[in-house]
């Protein structure tokens, strides 16, 4: 089992991602610089959170056009699993690997806290550790996490089981009150049609030990790595 973490100038969760993967894999992932044009042999590619290129132009826009991303898009198309977290999710939408876009949070604030998420899909590779409709907690830390897509796309995501997580309250109510950032249909994470790419705003890699406040993220990574072994 081999994994790669893409590192952009301004990534700041790349090492968190490395620690989380290493803890579950027992081996360190390759750290791949954005300017490289060759990917090492890998069974999983993680696009980490941060502020690639200072969020210039649009979040993820410049990273999405970096040399390594052309290779990542090719690998994704051939079925390699991709985990795109926070800024990584923004990069993935900018490349077109995932539909929609991430807008400024509706309340205009940077939101940094643990949030409740409802697991809304049955994708075994990414959420096999959880029951459908289970409520889990991951941290979020973003200013531009307001998921937007047109009506037709949102309907398709809903209809085809492509929504991984929705923002909810602790009782499982998915509504405006539990929608932290204004995302359409409370969407916190989605898959591509083939189900090999997961993009999500929350950070599973930040909740991988009791010392960090919980292990809901560790469960996520353990399942992901097991499913690929």
């Amino acid at each position: 089992m081999k994994a790669a973490v893409i590192v952009f100038p301004g990534s700041n969760c790349d090492r968190d991602m490395k620690v989380a993967l290493e803890l579950s894999m027992g081996a360190a992932p390759a750290m791949v610089w954005h300017g490289d044009s060759v990917l090492p042999e890998t069974d999983l590619i993680a696009i980490p959170g941060g502020f690639s290129y200072g969020d210039y132009l649009r979040c993820g826009a410049i990273a999405g056009n970096s040399p390594i991303m052309r290779e990542v898009v090719k690998k994704a198309a051939s079925g390699t699993p991709i985990l795109a977290v926070c800024n990584g999710f923004q990069v993935a939408t900018e490349t077109g690997m995932l539909p929609g876009a991430l807008l400024r949070n509706a309340n205009q604030k940077f939101i940094c806290k643990d949030v409740n998420l409802k697991v809304t899909s049955e994708n075994q590779r990414f959420v096999g550790a959880y029951e459908t409709n289970q409520i889990i907690r991951f941290p979020v830390a973003h200013h531009d996490g307001n998921f937007f897509a047109d009506d037709e796309t949102v309907e398709r995501l809903e209809g085809e089981g492509q929504i991984a997580f929705k923002y909810t309250d602790a009782d499982g109510n998915v509504n405006d009150g539990s929608n932290i950032n204004g995302s359409r249909n409370n969407i916190a994470g989605i898959y591509n049609k083939a189900g090999n790419i997961l993009g999500l705003m929350p950070h599973p890699e930040r909740l991988i030990s009791d010392q960090l406040g919980g292990i809901d993220g560790k469960t996520f990574f353990d399942n992901l790595i097991n499913s690929l072994n």
């Binding site: 876009a101 807008l103 509706a106 205009q108 897509a149 047109d150």
Partner: protein, 80 residues
Amino acid sequence: MKARVTISLKNGVLDPQGKAISHALHGLGLDKIGEVRQGKVIELDLGDISAKDAPAEVDKMCTQLLANTVIENYAVELLD
């Protein structure tokens, strides 16, 4: 030759920054102001690109990088 690209959010796409500007204008007593939408302007020096090729070249730049057509519209103005 230069080009000026004006990028704006599509209708129906929430613009919290535009809303904040609108609130601030109201706070200044300019309460007749209705909706405010914020966009951006990018000026490009087109170097050796000919006037004939410019429209297609700039359009390509817009769709590939400068605008995200999921959420944004763009308009191109070519300047001498």
